[in-house]
Symmetry: C2
């Protein structure tokens, strides 16, 4: 039985779902794959829990019930303040799971944490897009020279193994990747079409359900989808810069636009597209014929079309969702545990 020590940095919705899923499934996983996954440290924005021998299932489940940014109050293994170095000094994790929120201005704290983890010899799994969008080359190079793995399949279509699939198509020349990559705006557009809400009403409904954030600008201005296109472009080896991606705001769509489109047999979708031959990318409002596959991708579903020199395929699944994304992060952790040398 191979034992793997994991540090979880960032303990919001996905972090908690990850720790909870692991607590519930790790017995099954150890039977199925012969690996024992121990959580030796968790950090949130204000504190840390460090237990070098590994938290037990009960402790993991209890931690998931602590108020947000409150793990420093969790009994004897907890302390106030975050010091990633202390985690590595005391618990020497093999895998660093970086689940801090995305900050596209700086990439922090994700970027510093990821580089620190690699320098200390840990493989890295992350769901945070910002460090990759801003510093993909630096991170991948840091991992490469140390023969460590950096995995990030939860960053695009987080509830599915889309990126894993795309990166496995190594003999293909990927010509185009396009689709509906942002669940929040797709939910808003679906509400506008199905329940005839205007944009503001649909946005408020999405916020009330926790689908949209209090500040929804990253989603509705197309920045989140553009960030995903950047990561896709690196995965297929044809990198583009986020500043070069043309973006339209979904907020400009009125209920009248929707009704006009429907009358013509169309639906309005918010489509992210990377043309890897012309090396251009965009996040645009598009009218899609009602019998097109994209027209059927509604609510919080995501869907994507991959066109290569040899084939074409469609992939439809959950873009996010805390439980779905937690499984995707865990899939990366399991793959590293099975393949990694640490």
């Amino acid at each position: 039985m191979k034992s793997i020590n994991v540090a979880v940095v960032g303990f919001g919705n996905v972090g908690r779902a990850f720790v909870k899923t692991l607590a519930l499934k790790r017995k099954t996983l150890s039977e199925k794959y012969g690996i024992n996954i121990n959580v030796v440290a968790i950090a949130d924005s204000k504190g840390m829990v460090i237990k070098p021998s590994g938290l037990d299932d009960y402790e993991m489940l209890k931690l998931c019930e602590v108020p947000k940014s409150g793990i420093h109050m969790f009994g004897s293994y907890a302390k106030q303040g975050v010091d990633i170095a202390e985690i590595y000094d005391k618990a020497a994790p093999n895998i660093h799971v970086e689940l801090t929120p995305a900050n596209y201005a700086t990439g922090e704290p994700g970027y510093t944490n990821i580089v620190f983890a690699l320098k200390r010899g840990a493989h890295v799994v992350t769901a945070n897009k910002a460090p990759l969008v801003l510093y993909y080359r630096e991170i991948v190079e840091e991992a490469r020279i140390r023969r460590l793995m950096i995995k990030f399949r939860a960053t695009v279509m987080g509830g599915t193994p889309f990126l894993e699939m795309l990166s496995s198509m190594k003999s293909h020349d990927i010509e185009k990747v396009e689709g509906i990559l942002n669940a929040t705006t797709n939910y808003i557009l679906t509400e506008m079409h199905e329940n005839l809400l205007d944009f503001e009403q649909a946005l408020r409904k999405a916020q009330a359900l926790g689908i949209a954030e209090a500040d929804p600008s990253l989603d509705i201005e197309g920045f989140d989808a553009a960030a995903k296109l950047v990561i896709i472009s690196y995965v297929i080896g044809k990198p583009i810069n986020i500043s070069s991606i043309y973006r339209e705001s979904v907020a400009q769509i009125s209920l009248k636009d929707v009704l006009d489109a429907v009358k013509q047999g169309h639906v309005i979708k918010y489509v992210a597209a990377l043309d890897a031959q012309k090396m251009v990318a965009s996040v645009k409002i598009e009218k899609v014929p009602r019998d097109n596959v994209f027209a059927q991708i509604n609510g919080t579903l995501n869907g994507v079309r991959i066109k290569s020199d040899a084939t074409e395929l469609f992939f439809i699944g959950r873009g996010g969702g805390r439980i779905e994304t937690a499984h995707t992060v865990l899939d990366d952790v399991i793959e590293v545990a099975l393949r990694g040398s640490a």
Copy 2:
């Protein structure tokens, strides 16, 4: 630069498309991934070509133009008769690419070739379903004890990385996999719906286009789709036996059945399903509502739905096609070359 020596055993449509694709792409692949893939031997049913230093691009392209079962006539490296041991004695391939046709009665010659290759220390990539359907455990165990890789993503939805994606979902409890897994019968049904052909006419058209074989029984009796369900069941760790799979023949569908279904807003599809909770599997004729995703999968497209305890996703792409399948085989070869220790 890492050099990898490949033996290709089986030189029909997929074998030729594989060798041709490799000849055209290996320069790009070596630049992109730092691996040099040499073809050191090719065998068809009647002869072999062995060149331990590796065939050059021109030789590879010329070989693809030799008549079927005729490579023994190919100049100085060729000889009559097939002796896999001689390939290993003379050229010591690192990767064995097994592309012989499927024989579900015996699994041969694939099974013997695969085990021989593993015993001689070669990783194995195959597109031949029969050895896996009959001897999955034996083959995987033989590879495991020798720390070799056995890859077979071209066996299900051959033109896509479906199996790779499914096997990467390691944290998921896969509850159901269902879909349209046989391109030939889906093409026939699409012709019946769109061009109002009866079954025999549609079958003859498929045969004339090379989509159906002269003896189409493996496809139309559901055996091919059932074989794919068996491989899927092993990949998700819940093996079922092919003899336990309930199969209906697609040949029993009349044009009247199709017209009746269409009048009710349905289409008739040939659906393969594995229920991994009840551990039952079937290949059945089903009426599918016209707005269902499966109803939109027409012609030689394949489509599949994966339902796990955490998510649900759809995947649509080419089931076969020689070029598409050749790329899928090559993706496996590249993955082995990048990861394998040999």
